[in-house]
Symmetry: C2
DNA sequence: TTCCGTTCGTTGCTCATGCAACCAATAACA
DNA sequence: TGTTATTGGTTGCATGAGCAACGAACGGAA
């Protein structure tokens, strides 16, 4: 049929509507929330996002190696390495050699690091809460489930591998 | 694994559990999907994410200005500017001055640009579909609603201002 | 007209990030 | 024992993004 050869104003046929495209919408949402959080991390405490993740992880587990910082390869080795270096230089993190395997090092928060952790964490949580406050508890639970499902699937689709840690 | 004697002490009191923290999970998910898509954009067509967004937007609307590329300030002016320059240099986008307002320019896909659009779009959509395939239609609808609610809220919490595009 | 405030878009600078190459230590195996 | 393959972690390099400062063009007001 006449597939509209006329060059008129409306586009021939939009194959993708960006505002409805899931990956785009996820990116926008994630970007906005990052932006909201980065304001706290960066402006108030001088932490980058990787640094924040390291701090939180160490706050959770007390003692881990650099490799454990990116459980699913979310952060790059180099990203973690640099974040840890910076934190060590600021005296927020200390390293201790692991004598059982001298390739790796144990990481832990210093008292100063823990102090920052205890200062940032509640504020970050508050942002998370404020975000979720527009959802009912039931919706929150649903969201959590959906994110998990999608993340699992996304991990299958993404190249993201070639780097040690597989599921 | 090093079955070492190293004590993996539970931390005093974990204030934040990263794996349960919504912004973190959103970031991970968005990162994974971006990664999956970037593989198509980049490896197969040499497009960056901003470039892809420009192409898709022009594929949708035929003719827009650079400012319209970031409707909600998702991309920075400079990001759009550079993406457009690169695309123009590759002959995928053409500019025409807007005689009514010579500050801005009309942008449109060239035939070559449209060809790439028509090649990439279906593949990108396919990735989106494959992602969503783990959700039931009902879940997909729910997800869409939740994302919208969260995005609206996140936009209130994020600084994201001082830049042209208002609310 | 001229002056001022605003908006569209570009560009220089800086820094964060990803990749890949690399070192050191361990593991696997002949 | 030596020899090779893997793994934890660092670093050089190049690319990418944000910020801010800038130039150009418009709108409004005298």
């Amino acid at each position: 049929m006449a597939s509209g050869s006329a060059a008129r104003k409306p586009a021939p046929e939009p194959l993708v509507v960006l505002e409805e495209f899931l990956p785009y919408r996820l990116n926008v949402l994630a970007g906005l929330t990052s932006s909201a959080l980065a304001q706290i991390y960066a402006e108030r405490f001088g932490l980058s996002i990787p640094a924040w993740r390291v701090i939180v992880t160490l706050g959770q587990y007390e003692c881990r190696t650099a490799r454990d910082m990116a459980p699913d390869g979310v952060m790059h080795k180099s990203t973690v390495s640099r974040a840890v270096s910076a934190l060590e230089k600021r005296g927020l993190v200390k390293r201790r050699p692991n004598l059982d395997d001298r390739r790796e090092e144990w990481l832990a928060l210093t008292p100063e690091g823990r102090a920052i952790y205890e200062a940032v964490a509640p504020e970050a949580l508050a942002v998370g809460e404020r975000l979720l406050s527009v959802l009912t508890p039931q919706e929150q639970k649903t969201l959590s489930t959906l994110i998990d499902k999608l993340t699992r699937q996304a991990r299958l689709l993404a190249p993201r591998d070639t780097e040690g840690s597989e599921a």
